[in-house]
Each structure stands twice: as structure tokens, then as C-alpha cells.
């Protein structure tokens, strides 16, 4: 079974600085998808960024980018120019190539200091 591990329960960053959240996963599949979801205190979870395993190029969405290391099964999220609105719980998630079941990590709480 696939598992997703987020080893940082909590992280802090100063406003305007950069922070990296870590995620590792375990799978025997060669093709799959990886996601980072953001869950603010209001609890509405939203998709931040997605990476297809067959793509070598790291995904980027504005201030959010990933470092995808397939051999190491590592998928970290970098947030540049952190803003107060980035404060939330961040979940890393895995999905097989076919099928929709998301397997989530335990999450990392990100605090942004002004």
C-alpha cells in the first residue's frame, strides 16, 4: 500500500522569506500523481500544486514550486515570498495514475510571522 510521510509537524517562516515543506512517499508504481493541498483554519481544502511523476520538470504555480526527486521518492514544496495568507495546514498527497483515491500525509502546520 502507498504511504505518505510528512516529517515536519510544524514550521515557521518570516513574512517575505522562503520556506520548504518536506514530503516522502512509498510506492511500487512508476506512474502516479503528487499533490500539495492547503487547509486554512476555515477547513476548506484547496489544491496548491500538482506534479505528474512522468514529468521531469518541477511544477511551479506563482510563488509555489516543488522539488520532485523520483528516485528518492521525495516531493517538497517551496513557498517563496511568504505571506500571512499562506498560514495553514499543508498536506502532501499521492494518487495512482488511474483511479482517484488520494492518500494523504499527516500534514504540516505552517505559521507565518509578521
Amino acid at each position: 500500500a502507498q504511504t505518505v510521510t510528512q516529517s515536519q509537524p510544524e514550521m515557521s517562516v518570516q513574512e517575505a522569506e522562503t520556506v520548504t515543506l518536506s514530503c516522502t512517499y512509498d510506492t511500487s508504481e512508476s506512474d502516479y500523481y503528487l499533490f500539495w493541498y492547503k487547509q486554512p483554519p476555515s477547513r476548506q481544502m484547496i489544491l496548491v500544486i500538482r506534479q505528474e511523476a512522468y514529468k521531469q520538470q518541477n511544477a511551479t504555480e506563482n510563488r509555489f514550486s516543488v522539488n520532485f526527486q523520483k528516485a528518492a521518492k521525495s516531493f517538497s514544496l517551496k513557498i517563496s515570498d511568504s505571506q500571512l495568507g499562506d498560514a495553514a495546514m499543508y498536506f502532501c498527497a499521492y494518487r495512482k495514475q488511474y483511479g482517484n483515491k488520494l492518500v494523504f500525509g499527516a500534514g504540516t502546520i505552517l505559521r507565518v510571522k509578521s
Partner: protein, 116 residues
């Protein structure tokens, strides 16, 4: 575009009581998911519907949990009888079409259940 709606937002019950949650997905979304998110953990899929048929319910405790999606739109999740360990946030999500590789799940605000 309206998002995924859930009600109630909060529910407190005593153990052995019954409870039901309601979800209205985004209009036109064929696939609906129920997740259980226990405090300090990531969401865990309980059941997935494609229209009104069940695709995956492998992690649904069927002795006490049930779910239905009549007419392939709204869905209800029921717990009967509730146990203390059922205290969690129950998230509903929907997606356009589970057959698409780039299908994205959109989440509702969740229902926080406390079992005393």
C-alpha cells in the same frame, strides 16, 4: 461557481447515538468522496461514488457507517451507533470525472463531529 456544500458544520452527540451528514457537490460533478479527518492526521477516504454507484468503500466501517448518493447528486453519510473514536471532521469532495487523468478534487468545509 458554487463550491461543495456540507451540513451541518458542527455536531455533538453522545456515544451510541446516530448522526447523518449531508453533502451537495459542485453541479455537474460525477464523482463524490467522503473523507474522515481525525485530529492530527490527514484525511482518509471512506467511500467514493461515481454517479450513484460505489467505486471504493474499502475503508468504510460497514458495521456502523453507511452512505448513499441517490440520483447521483446529493449524498448522505450516516453513523449508527457512534463511538468515541468517530470524533473527526468529515470532508466531502467532488470531481468532474474520475476517468480523467487530470481530475481535481474540490473539498467542502467539512462537518466537525464530537462524540461524548
Amino acid at each position: 461557481e458554487a463550491g461543495v456544500a456540507q451540513s451541518p458544520r458542527y455536531k455533538i452527540i453522545e456515544k451510541r447515538q446516530s448522526v447523518a451528514f449531508w453533502c451537495n457537490p459542485i453541479s455537474g460533478h460525477a464523482t463524490l468522496y467522503w473523507y474522515q479527518q481525525i485530529l492530527g492526521q490527514g484525511p482518509k477516504l471512506l467511500i467514493q461514488f461515481q454517479n450513484n454507484g460505489v467505486v471504493d468503500d474499502s475503508q468504510l466501517p460497514k458495521d456502523r457507517f453507511s452512505a448513499e448518493r441517490l440520483k447521483g447528486v446529493d449524498s448522505t453519510l450516516k453513523i449508527q451507533p457512534a463511538k468515541l473514536e468517530d470524533s473527526a471532521v468529515y470532508l466531502c469532495a467532488s470531481s468532474l470525472d474520475s476517468g480523467r487523468l487530470t481530475d481535481t478534487q474540490y473539498f467542502g468545509p467539512g462537518t466537525r463531529l464530537t462524540v461524548l
